[in-house]
């Protein structure tokens, strides 16, 4: 058990080091001279190029550059944006809360709608309702996030005028469409899992016992079946950070919403390499840490694994 924890944390640290190396090398992998890529077609003097090389620290040997990058990153210094000369860490700190709010709301959408649909399907297994839910679920897996966002805008914003299509963070109603856009495809996955899990559980002996005791069906489903059916789903949700963080780039861009996803896209357009590096590093690190915590929690709550 203790060995497992140590090994798991150690692997994650190795992965984090790898991420930092990869992110660090972004600036060196740019074809040609990175300063030219940044300055573009502006008329540049040799002094301007030299100053930029100095600012990016490109004149030192690679290992010194990486050491410096890692050292600063560990102290929370992710460099300076080339476009507006502000600290990258500050830009990320300012925009991260907005992304977290979006991701959590999407998660609420996914879990609530997904479990309701999944339970409906499993309780009516083999009927048209089951087929309908499963059909919706396959569609949800195939629908592009950005298309669904646009359809939601068409329906709720253009036709019904219920929610705004721009989400710059002043009122809660602005969160509705972005959260639905990011959460509904996820609800499709949750619905599938809840259905499969409930179908698996419902023939177990303790469910038969509960029925034999004369409990009403809804108590059997909600109190006995759902509880154990939820275990695999809870762990699955921890792993969904990847989808939510990745999807945020698209959802934030389309709703013009603040957040690190949109920041990443904008910084790519601006060729603002320090900002790209910072956002990618932070996002990947969040992902690795949540995954590690999910794995550890899973082992802690699941005695079957703990015994091994």
């Amino acid at each position: 058990m203790f060995n497992y924890l140590v090994r798991r944390v150690f692997t994650s640290i190795l992965v984090l080091i790898g991420i930092s190396m990869l992110v660090f090398s972004v600036i060196h992998l740019v074809p040609g001279d990175v300063t030219m890529a940044i300055l573009g077609r502006q008329k540049v003097t040799k002094e301007r190029v030299a100053a930029l090389r100095e600012q990016l620290g490109l004149n030192d040997p690679l290992y010194i550059q990486y050491g410096r990058y890692l050292g600063k990153a560990l102290q929370g210094d992710l460099g300076t944006s080339i476009r507006n000369n502000l600290p990258v860490a500050k830009a990320i700190r300012d925009q991260l809360p907005s992304t977290i709010v979006l991701a959590l709301s999407a998660l609420v959408v996914a879990v609530s709608i997904g479990s309701i649909l999944g339970m409906l399907a499993s309780a009516n297994h083999g009927t048209w309702l089951d087929t309908l839910v499963m059909g919706l679920s396959v569609s949800g897996l195939s629908i592009p996030t950005f298309w669904m966002g646009l359809l939601l805008i068409l329906l709720f914003s253009v036709n019904l005028g219920l929610f705004p299509s721009i989400s710059n963070g002043s009122t809660p109603s602005e969160l509705v469409l972005p959260a639905l856009t990011l959460g509904l495809p996820e609800a499709a996955v949750v619905a599938r899992m809840v259905r499969a899990s409930m179908l698996d559980v419902r023939n177990r002996e303790y469910i038969t016992t509960a029925r034999a005791k004369g409990l009403p069906e809804y108590v059997v489903i909600l109190k006995h079946a759902l509880r154990s059916a939820l275990i695999p789903i809870v762990t699955f949700l921890g792993l969904q950070m990847a989808y939510l963080l990745g999807g945020a780039t698209i959802v934030e861009t389309m709703f013009a919403r603040l957040g690190i996803g949109r920041l990443a896209v904008q910084s790519i357009f601006n060729r603002d390499y320090p900002l790209v590096q910072g956002v990618v590093l932070v996002t990947a690190a969040i992902y690795v840490v949540t995954n590690t915590l999910t794995d550890i929690t899973y082992v802690l709550i699941n005695p079957k694994i703990r015994l091994k």
Partner: protein, 293 residues
């Protein structure tokens, strides 16, 4: 299960899987849908005589009609023609992307799983690192390095699929290399290359096939997403994701500019996922059988 086949003429496992997939209802629907989409994009010159890039400002934002079945866009181009040609590119980006990922991933997985040692540890660590870039972020980071554009988008998508193929191939090699027939082949003096290409790879085809089909769907989605973000095809090139990007500006005036290109992406991915599910069901049966033996 095996249907009309008599017990004395049992079909090969490959043929059985193939027949099972053909009989699967969702695979049938998916197959027809996919063929229709491929046909309509590649037979575009037969289906329309218009030029996808010809602008006609006086005809801008016309609603769908007989002359313009999907309406016209902000600068008067025929949306139907652009839909057909756009499909070509969207499907190609997906296909090229997943092929790059599969080729590199399978090669690395074979090497890593078969030879083991420090190379295996290094490659495994590297895929772990690549896999910790959530979702589309790895592709974004690669585009940040290479710059936007269609071929860079294909490459970026390809590289982001490498880890999944490598992992799958590696675990397949690890279980197959202990098989008796591999041992026999080695005893007969076969080279490592021959064992890998004649024994291990062919026996991994079924599991790889599932990842290939389901991956093709994700690859098309990722390609459309990059194009939607403006990091792929440059104007005036027609591509479903890029069309959605430019149609988004007119979401209040012209619903047809957002509904049709998005439906194209959705139907393409849906049809592939339906086929993929059927393949995965068919293969799952045989894989379990092999493991039980």
């Amino acid at each position: 299960m095996i249907g009309k086949l008599s017990p004395f003429h049992s079909a090969s496992p490959g043929l059985r899987i193939y027949k099972q997939i053909l009989r699967n209802r969702s695979a049938q629907i998916g197959g027809v849908l996919l063929l229709l989409l491929i046909f309509s994009s590649y037979a575009a010159p037969l289906l329309t005589d218009k030029d996808p890039n010809k602008t006609a400002p006086p005809l801008a934002l016309k609603a769908p009609s007989l002359a313009y079945p999907m309406g016209t866009d902000g600068i008067g181009r025929d949306n139907f023609t652009r839909f057909l040609y756009g499909g070509q590119l969207s499907l190609r980006i997906g296909l090229v992307g997943i092929s790059i990922g599969a080729l590199i991933g399978i090669a690395l997985g074979l090497i890593s799983g078969y030879f083991g040692g420090w190379l295996d540890s290094l490659l495994t660590w590297f895929t772990d690192v690549l896999m910790s870039f959530p979702d589309i972020l790895l592709a974004l980071a690669i585009i940040a390095i290479l710059g936007p554009g269609i071929s860079n988008a294909m490459l970026a998508i390809g590289i982001s699929f490498v880890p999944s193929f490598m992992r799958l191939m590696r675990s397949s090699v690890l279980s197959l290399r202990e098989m008796t027939y591999v041992e026999a082949s080695r005893a007969l003096g076969s080279s490592d290359f021959r064992i890998l290409t004649r024994h291990i790879l062919p026996n991994s085809v079924r599991t790889l096939l599932v990842l290939l089909t389901l991956g093709l769907g994700s690859s098309i989605l990722a390609g459309a997403a990059l194009n939607f973000l403006g990091l792929g095809a440059e104007p005036p090139t027609a591509e479903w994701g890029a069309m959605l990007n430019s149609g988004m500006k007119f979401v209040r005036q012209a619903w047809w500019l957002t509904v049709f290109p998005g439906a194209g992406i959705f139907l393409a991915v849906l049809s592939i996922n339906l086929i993929g599910d059927a393949i995965s069901d068919a293969v799952a049966g045989t894989v379990v059988m092999v493991e039980n033996n």
